[in-house]
Amino acid sequence: MPKYLLLKHYRGGPEPHRRLPPMDEWAPEDVEAHIAFQNHVSELLEENGEYVDTRALAPAQTWVRYGGPDAAPITTDGPHPETSDLIAGWWMIDVESHERALELAAYVSSEPGPGGEPMYEWIDVREVMWERPRTTDTA
């Protein structure tokens, strides 16, 4: 019953297990296989009754903050735009347990890269907080 986000990143996270060229440099059939796998993951989650949502985010990132009274918002593209963490998208899943979320994340990470080999991409697993108050008393 807990929900998790399986977050994919354009960059950031632990040291990559496998260094890969950007996708636009892959062989066309490898690109096709990769995209097909993403669709397959969504279908699998739907079949399992574990699917909640999936979204992809555009890579362009703008940081914004309050500029102070009567001032325009302050924007920047970040302190180190080339290295900072950048989320690419997610699946939101509703599963039995944390273990199941990790299992699905590992499956997502097995997605095919160049030459059809698994990408071993790091997936960021985050639990979604339950909004509704509990029906029992807390200490």
């Binding site: 739907e46 339950w130 909004e131 029906t135 807390t138 200490a139």
Partner: protein
């Protein structure tokens, strides 16, 4: 079929034409059990009845049926026939089989209907989320949409979960006695999942538990009902008007539902009288003692501790098998023998619960009880960091801030 007159008058209010959904849903397990006993597949019959239910919700307010139960049975049967006709070739052989009544089914008592279906839905081979979903639909009479909303998942996801669950159950024999312990766990899971929104799952769990107590003499079923009632009685005091959590010791006890408490105590006493204690009866007894105290100071902690001693004695290795009971007992120990003793009890759970918010929240409470506010603040902050419920997280952050503000000397 024996439709009773209360069926007829209970579902639609004659003057307002409003549909009493509770009364409608109470018919679902009876109609479903009737179809299954007649020889229909559980899976197909449940689907057909779901369609009949949706039709009823649409049609009945304008055209109230003369006999709601017979109406549901007829419409569901028509759907079953339609489904069979559309796959006539494949089904021809099965239909022949269906003509033979199954042997060994439950007797046609109403209470048995509920129990029989609960055993189907809470089949031990199903995962808990599937057991819950199937129970709410086949016994609770909720629509797929309502169940999906209650769990914040898309309707298609819930539909898929239910149909997978039914496929798992369908090959199994349904005429054997099921596992009541699983049924009780599923109902309690429904209860703790929450209340609010359009579907009140806590109230639904209480309704189902009440039906269950009509179907079985088992004292633990009554224990579960009592536990839910005694807990639910405090609901009006548990959140303040801004939605903030109010802990038991600070609740306005005047807001507690005294009727629910009285019923809970009565149900609990009838269970305890059978002299076969179990975890739900014991937890209900603890809840009853809290409900019984006119103020937090008057709480009978020694008595609560005695019940907790019984609770942890139910398992051989309570730290591993029932850590929640050991943690609850630690609070009682803290109140009876002092905060330090309570904290020592929680130490035993560090390996098992050290990464759970509740362990840190209890330690925060015990540190505060012992007057160590800086330690309380640290424990509450850690608990807030680990919480997976928004209201609880906010509450724990407030507790941490409050404890820190009250202990200014610890700053820096």
């Amino acid at each position: 079929m024996g439709a009773s007159s209360d069926d007829r008058h209970g579902v639609i209010d004659a003057s307002t034409r409003r549909l009493d959904e509770g009364a409608l849903r109470a018919l679902v397990p009876r109609v479903l059990a009737g179809l299954v006993r007649r020889g229909e597949d559980f899976d197909a019959a449940e689907d057909a009845l779901q369609e009949a239910l949706l039709e009823a919700l649409r049609v009945w307010p304008e055209h109230p049926p003369h006999d709601p139960r017979a109406w549901l049975t007829t419409v569901a049967t028509r759907r079953l026939v339609d489904a069979r006709r559309s796959e006539a070739a494949r089904h021809r052989r099965e239909e022949a089989e269906h003509a033979e009544p199954r042997v060994g089914g439950p007797s046609p008592e109403e209470g048995d209907d509920t129990l029989f279906l609960l055993f189907c839905c809470c089949h031990p081979e199903l995962a808990p989320t599937s057991q819950v979903a199937l129970t709410l639909r086949a016994v609770g009479g909720l629509t797929t949409r309502e169940i999906a909303d209650a769990f914040f998942v898309p309707e298609a996801t819930m539909a898929q979960r239910i149909s997978r669950a039914k496929r798992t159950v369908d090959g199994r024999r349904l005429d054997q006695p099921g596992d009541l312990a699983v049924v009780l766990r599923v109902l309690y899971l429904v209860y703790t999942t929450g209340h609010g929104d359009r579907v009140d799952l806590a109230a639904e769990a209480i309704r189902l538990a009440r039906q269950l107590t009509l179907a079985t003499e088992e004292p633990e079923a009554r224990g579960l009902l009592a536990l839910m009632l005694l807990n639910h009685a405090r609901l009006p005091a548990r959140l303040d008007p801004e939605g903030r959590i109010v802990t038991l010791d600070r609740q306005d006890r005047g807001l507690w539902d005294t009727r629910a408490i009285a019923e809970g105590v009565r149900v609990l006493q009838s269970a305890l009288a059978l002299q076969r204690p179990g975890r739900y009866q014991i937890e209900a007894a603890i809840a009853a003692l809290h409900d019984d105290a006119a103020s937090a100071e008057e709480t009978d902690w020694p008595q609560i501790l005695a019940w907790y001693d019984d609770l942890v004695a139910l398992t051989d290795d309570p730290v591993r098998q029932d850590p929640a009971a050991v943690l609850g007992r630690a609070v009682a120990v803290g109140h009876v023998r002092g905060a330090a003793a309570g904290l020592r009890e929680t130490d035993r759970l560090r390996d098992v619960l050290g990464d759970r918010h509740r362990w840190h929240a209890v330690r925060g409470h015990l540190h505060e009880l012992g007057g160590d506010l800086p330690a309380a603040a640290t424990a509450y902050a850690e608990a807030a960091h680990l919480a997976t419920n928004v209201a609880e997280r906010d509450h724990l952050v407030r507790q941490a801030a409050r404890a820190r503000a009250a202990a200014p000397a610890s700053r820096g």
